[in-house]
């Protein structure tokens, strides 16, 4: 009697696990499928329109060149990271290594970080426009854009660095302090290097936000496009994402095609930057991981 039941039960369990397995596979395939569809859609429509003029030529209504936007995009990534990463990582170090548990300042900082992370980017844009463009007199410029974007990515960097630093086992800290190292020495020579892969994954997220940002930048660095690239921080110049947005909303006969070309380049930029950062993370984390 009992055995029969067990067998029936087993058949039922096998059926359930089969259904679940199929469901999991389906979800997986769908995710990959959507990604591939988007990539193909943009690349197929975009790549054929990419030419040397578009990539490296001067901008006019004929070429719609993205050259100056490409340069500004990289400039913005680099300088914003140089500003925000040290501040964010030091803030995370304070929160995890120095602040005492239950400290009021920590609660305030955490609340601020979480709130900042949730604010829509267009609000940052408005803020940046008032503070950097108007009050501080930077006008619509790459500098105003960089300042705004740096504030925007700060919460991403703080929270991922905090997580990464927290996950460094205490036994490493004990080992270091037990050898007579100072707190500071332990943080910079043991804790931060061990947390580096996690910190870098926050940096990758931050890069994604910078590259994809439009709303906040339209208000601060402007939609202007220069004929040829400049590194002048006080110039008003668009990034790739804004270039794409502007092309898509312009009425020129080939501007839609060129918007897709810009999209393709954007994907390529994100891919390259992520690859570089992952390589770096791999190199930094290698000793910790190979067994």
């Amino acid at each position: 009697m009992e055995l029969v039941n067990a067998e029936k039960n087993l058949r039922k369990r096998k059926l359930i696990s089969l259904v679940l397995k199929a469901g999991v596979w389906l979800c997986g395939i769908m995710t990959v499928g959507i990604l591939i569809f988007i990539l193909l859609f943009i690349l197929l429509r975009g790549v054929p329109n990419i030419n040397m003029e578009f990539l490296f030529g001067t901008y006019n209504s004929d070429t719609l060149s993205a050259f100056s936007s490409i340069v500004t995009t990289f400039e913005m990534i680099l300088i914003s990271l140089l500003v925000a990463v040290p501040i964010g990582v030091f803030c995370a170090i304070y929160l995890t290594e120095y602040a005492k548990r239950g400290n009021k300042a920590v609660k305030v900082i955490r609340l601020a970080v979480d709130t900042l992370a949730g604010i829509p980017s267009i609000v940052y844009g408005l803020f940046g426009m008032i503070l950097f463009v108007n009050i501080l007199g930077f006008r619509a410029s790459v500098l105003s854009g960089i300042c705004t974007v740096s504030i925007m990515i700060l919460p991403v960097i703080i929270s991922s660095s905090e997580e990464a630093i927290k996950s460094v086992p205490d036994m490493y800290r004990e080992g270091s302090l037990g050898l007579g190292a100072t707190r500071l020495g332990t943080v910079f020579r043991i804790v931060v290097p061990t947390a580096m892969p996690g910190i870098l994954s926050g940096v990758i997220l931050a890069i994604g936000r910078i590259v994809g940002e439009t709303a906040a930048l339209i208000f601060t660095s402007g939609t202007n496009v220069l004929e040829s690239p400049t590194l002048d921080l006080f110039a008003s110049q668009r990034t790739l994402a804004i270039h794409m947005y502007m092309l898509a909303s312009e009425g020129l006969p080939h501007s839609k095609d060129m918007a897709f070309a810009t999209g393709a380049i954007l994907i390529l930029v994100v891919f390259l930057v992520n690859l570089a950062t992952t390589k770096l993370a791999g190199r930094l984390g290698r000793l910790g991981n190979d067994k």
Partner: protein, 252 residues
């Protein structure tokens, strides 16, 4: 041969918040001997060990009073904790090599204390690994990650790392509890071998280990030292009934 007192513990009381973890401890630890602390879990033996190089400072809410003297100097009043920890090294229960190469693990301590010359570091690394009897095992893979070593090798690396800053006292907190018998034996042999140069204090759950390697043994119970005597005496004719009950396995 009569050795000098290296560490003197006088009327030490320690509290974790409200909890009275160490009660009026008095003990003298002789130079170049192995002293073992035994007792059931939570009896305070690890707490006392950790307070000898002020690792308890890292825990919030710890209060300590009484005196602990290293060569006559009060380690809580007249000594900087980093200097104390350089002189009193520690090996932890779980092997905790840093996620770096074997070489970097051993070179970390001397670098921290300002040794910069590559040749000097090479010398210290080799010496420390030789003292920990693992130079021949690892000399060809110094640049490889320390996390690739076996548990026993990792623990010996941690001992080598402790040697690297040239300490006078080495504290070991159940250093073999996570290891297999062969690795344990290697570490015990090592400790007996190095006691001519270092004062060693070891916390252990393993009473056979205490009898095998230690000169003196202290039996702890509920935060008190019940009995502290030469290992042979303590295990063959304990003076206290509780000690006898513990070492004959009636509780613990």
């Amino acid at each position: 041969m009569i050795n000098n007192d290296k560490i003197k513990i006088e009327n030490v009381n320690l509290y974790y918040g409200e909890f009275h973890a160490l009660k009026n401890i008095n003990m003298n630890v002789k130079e170049k001997e192995i002293t073992a602390f035994i007792g059931p879990s939570g009896c305070g033996k690890s707490t006392l060990l950790k307070s000898l190089n002020r690792m308890n400072d890292l825990i919030e809410g710890v209060k300590i009073n009484g005196k602990m003297l290293l060569d006559g100097i009060d380690i809580y009043k007249d000594m900087d904790p980093t200097m104390l920890r350089k002189r009193v090294g520690m090996v932890f229960q779980k092997p905790n090599p840093f996620p770096m190469s074997i070489y970097e693990n051993v070179a970390y301590g001397p670098k921290t204390h300002g040794v910069k010359s590559k040749s000097k570091l090479d010398e210290i690394v080799e010496q420390s690994l030789r003292s920990a009897a693992m130079w021949d095992e690892v000399k060809d893979r110094l640049k490889k990650s320390a996390l690739g070593l076996s548990g026993g090798q990792q623990q010996r690396l941690c001992i080598a790392r402790a040697f690297s800053v040239n300490p006078e006292v080495i504290l070991l907190d159940e250093p073999t509890s996570a290891l297999d018998p062969i690795s344990t034996m290697k570490i015990e042999d090592l400790l007996v071998d190095i006691k001519k140069n270092y004062t060693i204090i070891i916390v252990t759950h393993n009473m056979q280990q205490a009898t095998r390697i230690s000169d003196k043994t202290g039996f702890f119970l509920h935060g008190e030292v019940v009995e502290f005597d030469e290992t042979e005496k303590l295990f063959s004719m304990p003076k206290n009934k509780k000690t006898e009950d513990y070492i004959t396995g009636r509780f613990g």
